[in-house]
């Protein structure tokens, strides 16, 4: 997966505020969502993403993969991320 080219975003202590091209309003990713968005700055597979976050937070990779699945689904639904060719 990768970030969609037209997505607009800001990073801060609040997390990440992002607005996808066709989304009706901005979405805020709080907590570990900030690290997830940072890790998406280059195309990655969901397994690689989970491994990267698991290493950063010193937690089990399978657990991270399950935890990030709903967020990735929401980001895909609003058009903030897409499948890389």
């Amino acid at each position: 997966v990768r970030r969609t080219a037209g997505v607009l975003w800001r990073d801060g202590a609040f997390g990440v505020v992002l607005l996808a091209p066709a989304a009706p309003e901005p979405l805020t990713l709080a907590g570990t969502g900030r690290a997830l968005w940072a890790a998406l700055d280059h195309p990655v597979t969901t397994s690689e993403l989970a491994a990267e976050l698991a290493a950063a937070f010193a937690v089990d990779r399978d657990r991270v993969e399950a935890d990030i699945a709903p967020t990735l689904a929401e980001l895909a639904r609003i058009g903030a991320i897409e499948e890389a060719p």
């Binding site: 607009l8 990073d11 202590a13 609040f14 901005p26």
Partner: protein, 382 residues
């Protein structure tokens, strides 16, 4: 709002700059904090407030920290919405072959600050080439935007005006500029020179033209010096940010300001920024304090800074900057013989408009010590 809260917000607006004043090292009481938060929001300084609190430069309770972070988030949510409106507008202008430059917030946030999240903004500003100005307005109005104020006479804005504020159907404000400000200082700017240079701001994967760094600094000075009766802290921060945290070419700035007869505008912006943000002196400040404006600039400045300042004083003072006698007559005729709709909204009748114009003219020409003193006193209290 108290003197204490104002002083703290002003110091917050300097946060992160070299020579910034210190901030309180113990949490503020509830009333002072609420005033600081309110003022920071109004002055678009919530990103700097949040940064000061999160960095530990400004002591805060957990609740205060949370409020600062939420205020920053709200400001950033608006910024991304505005950036999307900017992208949509840029797409339309590009398709129509209209030349433009992105101004203010969306440009300086990405080109002059280390992180765009440090700079909040509340509207979208574009400079459009004078030859394309009316076409740009027609285009944007054709997709639902409406003018906030009517033009004094058809064609006035294209020849002499600052521009128009449009409101999109979703409520977003889009300021379409022909020049930086109304009145004399807007008329002495070399508009072709503004379009002869460009920097490019990357937004949503696209590259949009903005003013070059010298142009951005000069516009920041015009905005801080002449834009509002009391300059917003974010406008003053932009001036200081460009002086202290960028590779601003001072010779280029002064040469361009000289050609535009606007050194006094730059000097005033630097003096205001350093006074209100309480920054350590730098050579730019020495220059600004030493500058003695010529007669044209001193008079023009009064139209924007005197206690009686209004749109009327600015456009009436603009007569002095209009180049030829025939054009001066055309300018005055356009101002005095306004469109009925404009007249009804502004003055009600032609005799009243003539009376207002005369008062504005007399005010900008006045060199009485009392008027000058009033102006300085107002500046001191800002």
């Amino acid at each position: 709002v108290t003197a204490a809260s104002t002083g703290i917000v002003e110091a917050v607006a300097a946060h992160g700059l070299p020579g910034a004043p210190p901030l309180p090292d113990s949490p503020l009481d509830g009333a002072t904090w609420r005033a600081v938060l309110e003022q920071a929001t109004g002055d678009r300084a919530t990103p700097l407030l949040a940064a000061a609190v999160v960095d530990g430069a400004l002591a805060a309770t957990d609740r205060q920290r949370e409020q600062a972070v939420v205020a920053h988030e709200q400001a950033m949510r608006l910024c991304v919405v505005l950036e999307r409106a900017l992208l949509d507008t840029a797409t339309r202008l590009d398709a129509a072959g209209i030349d433009y430059r992105v101004l203010k917030g969306p440009a300086v946030a990405r080109l002059d600050y280390a992180d765009p999240a440090e700079r909040a903004f509340g509207d979208v500003d574009l400079l459009v080439a004078a030859r394309d100005y009316e076409r740009a307005l027609d285009l944007l109005q054709s997709v639902g935007a409406r003018r906030r104020y009517t033009e004094v006479r058809p064609g006035f804005d294209r020849r002499w005006g600052k521009g128009a504020c449009l409101v999109a159907p979703d409520g977003i404000e889009l300021d379409v500029h022909r020049t930086f400000v109304a009145g004399p200082f807007g008329l002495t700017i070399d508009l072709d020179e503004l379009f002869a240079h460009a920097s490019f701001v990357t937004l949503g994967g696209r590259s949009l033209p903005a003013l070059d760094r010298t142009g951005r600094f000069l516009h920041a000075c015009f905005h801080a010096s002449l834009g509002d009766r009391t300059a917003r802290l974010v406008a003053l921060r932009d001036v200081a940010q460009l002086v202290l945290a960028s590779d601003l070419d001072r010779d280029d700035v002064l040469a361009r300001a000289g050609r535009w007869r606007a050194e006094a505008v730059v000097a005033r912006a630097v003096r205001l920024a350093w006074r209100r943000l309480r920054l350590e002196p730098v050579p730019w400040l020495d220059w600004a304090c030493a500058l003695r404006p010529d007669r044209f600039q001193a008079r023009a400045l009064r139209a924007y800074t005197a206690p009686s300042r209004s749109y009327a004083t600015q456009v009436v003072a603009g007569v002095a900057a209009v180049p030829s006698v025939s054009e001066k007559l055309a300018y005055m005729r356009a101002l005095l013989v306004a469109e009925p709709d404009h007249l009804a909204r502004r003055d009600g009748s032609y005799p009243r408009r003539l009376q207002r114009a005369w008062r504005a003219y007399a005010d900008t020409r006045s060199e009485r010590p009392r008027a000058a003193e009033r102006s300085r006193a107002a500046e001191r209290t800002r």
